[in-house]
């Protein structure tokens, strides 16, 4: 099995970030005047999507080579 670790990392960060951002958007709890749940959730979603993009780009560039040889 050749699992690209960026897929699980990206999926984990994106799903946790989504939960956190939704919590922040609905409940609107603040710390020192900042809605940290929402902000940090967005940061996690962006990082997670970034990891997924890197994994997708790698597999997209590897696929044509694989199909050409096989």
């Amino acid at each position: 099995m050749r699992l690209d670790l960026r897929y699980p990392i990206g999926l984990l960060l994106t799903s946790y970030g989504a939960i956190l951002a939704i919590e922040g958007a609905v409940v609107r709890a603040t710390v020192l005047g900042l809605n940290v749940n929402l902000y940090w959730g967005v940061v996690m979603i962006v990082s997670g999507l970034g990891a997924l993009y890197l994994a997708w780009r790698r597999s997209a560039s590897a696929a044509p080579r694989g199909s050409a040889s096989g």
């Binding site: 946790y16 939960i19 956190l20 709890a29 710390v31 020192l32 749940n37 940090w40």
Partner: protein
């Protein structure tokens, strides 16, 4: 315990869960590393080398798994012992004074002095750990209840940490002297066996052509400078 305290004080529901998840994940990965190191050292370096050599792979795999189970059970038991200490740092430093301080002397001699022998290192380590145990048994801490009964208290330290540090000094010195003395009294190892293990006998792979971010000395200097700067800012 500063981190959980900060989290429970400042994190709202949501981020608190994420913080606890991250904390548990880091504890688990640290534990996983320790358990892996434990079963590897036991199975490869002790069991295979000295107790039962030339067995099948299946046999060693089984022994490795049993060592894992044993190691986890011991860590669970340690957690109960840890509850009897004022704080986790006191206990950690006590364990370090028994284990890490003499081991540091062993590694230092083993890596930088080619005359060190296996017997010298082993018995030096035993002597160092024994010295730490003896130090713990004959000294006390003012106003503290000891975990183990003492043989005799010849000196009382003002704090747990003072006792731990002096214990570490005693253990390190004993191990260093015992390892060096016993090594000189036993047959030296051939230089060929020590290539790649002892600093003086290992060819250095310096690469002056590497870019600055690939050179350890440059990176170390950067980290040291940043550490110093942060210490000055947050003094």
């Amino acid at each position: 315990m500063a981190l959980p305290l900060m989290m429970s004080r400042y994190y709202p529901a949501g981020l608190l869960g994420l913080g606890l998840t991250a904390l548990l994940a880091s504890f688990m990965s640290g534990m996983a590393g320790n358990v892996t190191a434990f079963n590897t050292v036991w199975t490869f370096d002790i069991y295979q080398s000295y107790i039962r050599p030339r067995q099948s792979d299946a046999h060693y795999l089984w022994m490795g798994r049993m060592a894992t189970v044993f190691g986890v059970l011991v860590s669970v038991a340690t957690a109960y012992a840890a509850m009897r200490f004022n704080n986790i740092m006191d206990m950690l430093q006590l364990v370090f004074s028994f284990v890490n301080a003499p081991l540091f002397a062993t590694f230092l001699l083993g890596m930088f002095w080619k005359r060190t022998t296996g017997h010298g290192a082993f018995w030096g380590l035993v002597a160092g750990t024994g010295a730490a145990a003896l130090h713990y048994e004959v000294t006390g801490v003012i106003g503290a209840i000891s975990l183990l009964p003492k043989i005799a208290v010849v000196h009382a330290y003002p704090s747990d940490m003072a006792q731990n540090f002096w214990g570490a000094i005693v253990a390190w010195t004993t191990c260093f002297v015992a390892t060096a003395t016993l090594s000189l009294a036993t047959t030296p190892k051939a230089d060929g066996d020590l290539r790649g293990l002892v600093f003086g006998l290992t060819p250095r792979s310096a690469n002056p052509e590497a870019a600055w971010y690939q050179r350890p000395a440059v990176l170390a200097a950067v980290v040291l400078t940043l550490t110093l700067a942060l210490n000055m800012v947050f003094w």
